[in-house]
Amino acid sequence: MPPSSWRPHGTGDTIVSDVSTDVIQGTLDMLILKSLSLEPMHGFGIARRIEQISKGVFKVNPGSLMLAFKRMERASLIASDWLTTEHNRRGKFYRLTEKGRRQLKAETQEWSRRAAAIARLLEA
């Protein structure tokens, strides 16, 4: 269970029942990178994909998502372009930069290493 002091990041009601803040902080960036590794996407698309693929385990707060975009753009992990959406309107699309791709690779490896370790611990 989350600790009682846990408060959602930002103001909207966020995320999931059984994940604590710092894990989310760390993973949100990684999840964004992973989503963008397939194709450029706009904010809603990313949120939807994370929800769908995690089968509703992760529910993303739009405010946090946009803050993450700003942070990651500053760090040159992602870049954005204004393009026309499928609904024939202007939309902001994010794509992965080369640096972002390297970061995703590094984070994936690190995550797998940790997950494997935790799995071993739990199985032992």
Binding site: G10, T11, G12, D13, H42, G43, F44, G45, R48, N61, P62, G63, M66, L67, K70, R71, E73, R74, A75, S76, T85, H87, R89, R90, G91, K92
Partner: protein
């Protein structure tokens, strides 16, 4: 920070609208797409939109979160805080102006004085690698004579070059010669001056050792870049041109590199070979002696040397001491010690101690002013913060965080400090050079404000601003919002019970300004006393007329001019006129002599003055034994003063005794000791009949302008090239007191600044006190207090601080003026008149500064005051 972060941060700062629009668009797009999703899932458009909005959450909160992330938001809030602070300061301009000027003066004065002190005392010679250039100075008394310097240069192994720099006949004012029709400052230097010191040339060449042969002096001159530009319009064909220096033709061989103005504090215009002295003063044995006599006693010659590579000062010093001893014993001179110091522009090591003491005093004074400024601003900030308690309470109540309010108040303090710092920096850049040039004429010193000093002064001011700005800010934000809102102003009982921080600050200000004022007054009184003191002769109302002839004139011509002048002017006017080799308290001249009983070496030294027979009468100097000089004495009779009579012929009458300087002379009279040569001591003095030694000056008692003009006309008729200078003995007295006068003037100015600052401080504080206590005063008035009672109440409040300040200031002033007395001539310790007067001035200033706001308090209308909520 990455380039990308800087770029997008800057975009956030400068393209704020575009960034904001992007964010709005992105959010709108997000909600729109979410709405479409919901419609596709089967919701009505209305319900879909609502659902999308609910999912998104608080739009404004999300936007604020995003906006306040990143470095640009910190910068932005800082700018916003500073902007607000600026508006607040502009809202109360008198407060802002007083605070900023106070800080500026404090920083500016401190930095200026330290800069000036640093420049005067420590500035190295403007030559290549100046740290390797040392001056050779006498431990006590004179250093090396030119002859000895040449001996040292020839035998030393630790020096790579030794240069001699001096004025024509030893005294400072003979550094001035005439170039064509205008005066120039000239230094006579050894032939290796430019090469040994590594000073480059703009044009032509520097001097060479061939130019400086004692047996065959060359008439060559090197101009300074500045003189070349101002006198010859930077004429590039100047090299080889003949110019007239004191009417002697010289050839220009070079122009020194731009910016080089010699190796003294005064700015030099031309450099001549040492041996050229003999061309400018032909037939003058004393000038020749100066260059060749091993025992020459002139101490103003500056002997400098460049250390050979790898040699330490200590090693060079021990070698030069050995050489010095050997030279002096070979020439049968008494032992004398020399030492080496790194060469600075400050000329005379003997005066260094005094100069250091004087500067230390000034630095102390300006540091006190800086402290006063800090206390003053601190007090203003305290008073202001107290008055703004309500404003702060309102802001807290409106939901501003405590940190936000504190940051806001800090921004205000910082803005004050920064603007004060700017003014201070400006003062520090301009003041020292302007002031020193004003006092001393053109200087070769460069005044560059010390970065360290400026930073320290600025840091101090900022710290005091922060401390005094922050303390009340923290206090105000801690106090309960509701309490502050309710009371509206400070609690009523607070004023009289405990000694407040504000009261102590006021007392400190009063104490400091009392200290500065007392010391200024002590110095001024010292000078006044010096002026009025009994010098042993009548110094007032004596005009001095000096006649400048081209110095190169042959002695016989000078003699005939002098004889003619003395005869002609005697017949033109009815007043008493006397002649002297130089005016009283002007240049000191010394002569060596021996007694007939002694060996051939002239071993006694005495000050000398050449006088005409009317001299003693005109200055009212009594003869205590023997008689005055009379016309029939010829050149061989002399008078001596009491000190000389006592020391040279102890226990016997000097009358009729003989002594030998250049010729044998007989003592015919003894005069009362008088301060004719130095204002602060009496040397042995020999008075010789004025004669062939140069053109005498004319002393006239009670001369009217008409008389001066007629004398000048007589002189000009005799020789059209003559230039008449008018001066007075009183001016000489002032010059002898000169440095002291400057210090007293400076102390006076500082004292006045301190007084003004302290008064402004008292005024500012009480203006706020009155504002704060409006309600209390209203109640008192409503209950029947008269306006006199209200004013008394206010005055009593300030009297406590002012009284404490005066007492503390007194204690400090007594100590400091003791110190002054030991360092400076003329200053007296505890002087009841000075102390009483200063205390009275301060008390009155303090009372006035309180009275003005107090009177405003007395006029408070109780109904308005009580409604004022």
């Amino acid at each position: 920070m990455s380039l990308n972060a800087i770029r997008s941060g800057l975009r956030g700062l400068f393209r704020k609208d575009a960034v904001e629009r992007d964010l709005d668009d992105e959010i709108a797009q997000y909600i729109e797409i979410a709405t479409h999703e919901h419609i596709r899932a089967g919701l009505s458009p209305e319900a879909a939109r609502r659902a999308a909005r609910v999912e998104f959450g608080g739009v404004e909160a999300a936007k604020e979160d995003i906006r306040s992330w990143g470095w640009e938001s910190v910068v932005e809030s800082l700018i916003r805080d500073l902007g607000y602070a600026w508006r607040v300061l502009r809202g109360s301009p008198s407060y802002a102006i007083v605070a900023i000027t106070t800080l500026g003066i404090g920083i500016g004065l401190t930095t200026s004085v330290v800069t000036a002190s640093h420049a005067v005392l420590d500035q190295r010679w403007p030559v290549a690698d100046p740290t390797r250039v040392v001056t050779i100075v006498g431990r006590r008394g004179p250093g090396l004579s030119p002859a000895e310097a040449r001996y040292v240069a020839a035998h030393s192994t630790t020096l790579s070059g030794l240069v001699i720099v001096r004025c024509l006949a030893g005294a400072n004012d003979e550094c001035q010669l005439g170039l064509e029709d205008g005066p120039v400052r000239a230094d006579f230097v050894s032939g290796n001056y430019f090469t040994a010191l590594g000073v480059g040339m703009e044009l032509g060449r520097g001097l060479s050792s061939d130019d400086d042969e004692l047996t065959a002096p060359r008439a060559v001159v090197v101009l300074s870049d500045a003189a070349w530009r101002s006198r010859y319009g930077a004429d590039s064909t100047i090299i080889g041109r003949r110019v007239r220096i004191d009417d002697v033709p010289f050839t220009v061989v070079g122009v020194a590199k731009s910016g080089f103005a010699g190796t003294r504090m005064e700015r030099e215009d031309v450099w001549l070979p040492l041996s050229a002295m003999m061309l400018l003063r032909p037939g003058r044995q004393d000038v020749r002696d100066q260059l060749t006599d091993p025992s020459s006693d002139h101490s103003d010659a500056s002997i400098a040397a460049r250390l050979a590579p790898g040699v330490t000062i200590a090693r060079a010093e021990s070698e030069i001491r050995t050489l010095n001893r050997r030279f002096r014993s070979e020439n049968a001179l008494d032992d004398r010690d020399v030492s080496l110091t790194t060469a600075t522009l400050f000329p005379n090591p003997a005066k260094l101690r005094t100069a250091k003491a004087e500067f230390a005093l000034m630095v102390t004074a300006v540091v006190l002013v800086l402290m006063l400024a800090c206390a003053n601003v601190g007090n203003l900030l305290l008073a202001r913060a107290a008055a703004r308690r309500r404003e702060i309470a309102v802001r807290l109540a409106m939901g501003a965080s405590r940190g936000r309010v504190v940051r806001q108040l800090l921004a205000e303090s910082l803005l004050l400090a920064a603007m004060g710092g700017l003014i201070g920096l400006f003062i520090a850049l301009v003041l020292p050079g302007a002031l020193m040039t004003q006092i001393n004429g053109p200087l070769s010193l460069r005044f560059t404000p010390d970065a360290l000093v400026i930073s320290i002064a600025l840091a101090l001011v900022t710290l005091s601003c922060l401390a005094f700005g922050l303390a009340p800010a923290l206090h105000a934000t801690r106090a309960g919002v509701s309490a502050a809102l309710k009371s509206g102003a400070a609690p009523m009982s607070r004023s009289s019970s405990r000694p407040s921080l504000r009261g102590s600050l006021l007392a400190i200000q009063i104490a400091i300004s009392l200290l500065l004022l007392v010391n200024a007054a002590v110095l001024v009184r010292g000078i006044q006393r010096g002026r009025e003191s009994d010098l042993g002769f009548r110094s007032r109302g004596v005009t001095v007329l000096a006649f400048d002839l081209p110095a190169s004139d042959v002695p016989s011509r000078i003699r005939s001019f002098t004889r003619q002048l003395m005869m002609d002017s005697r017949s033109t006017s009815g007043t008493t006129i006397a002649y002297a080799g130089s005016a009283p308290l002007d240049r000191a001249q010394y002569a060596r002599f021996r007694l007939p009983s002694e060996s051939a070496k002239a071993s006694h030294v005495t000050a000398t003055l050449d006088i005409s027979k009317e001299f003693l009468d005109l200055l009212a100097i009594p003869i205590v034994a023997g008689r005055d000089l009379i016309e029939s004495d010829g050149d061989n009779a002399v008078l001596v003063n009491e000190s000389m009579a006592r020391d040279v012929w102890p226990g016997e009458s000097p009358l009729g005794k003989t002594l030998i300087d250049t010729v044998e002379r007989r003592v015919v009279g003894v005069v009362r000791d008088a301060n004719l040569v130095h204002i602060d001591r009496i040397d042995h003095l020999m008075l010789r009949p004025v004669g062939a030694r140069g053109v005498p000056v004319m002393l006239v008692r009670g001369a009217s302008p008409a008389i001066i003009q007629s004398v000048a006309a007589v002189a000009e008729r005799l020789d059209s090239r003559v230039h008449v200078r008018v001066d007075s003995v009183a001016a000489n007295v002032d010059r002898q007191l000169g440095d002291l006068g400057m210090i007293a003037a400076l102390a006076g100015v500082l004292g006045l600044i301190a007084l003004v600052l302290a008064s402004v401080g008292v005024f500012g504080v009480f203006a706020y006190v009155v504002q704060q206590r409006t309600r209390e005063i209203g109640i008192r008035t409503a209950l029947g207090a008269s306006s006199t009672q209200v004013i008394t109440l206010m005055l009593r409040d300030s009297a406590r601080s002012i009284g404490a300040g005066i007492i503390t200031g007194f204690a400090a002033a007594v100590g400091v003026s003791r110190l002054l007395q030991s360092e400076l001539f003329g200053a007296t310790p505890f002087d009841p008149v000075v102390f009483g007067a200063t205390a009275a001035v301060l008390a009155i200033a303090g009372a006035l500064a309180t009275f003005i706001p107090a009177r405003r308090a007395a006029r408070i209308d109780p109904t308005t005051a009580l409604r004022d909520e």
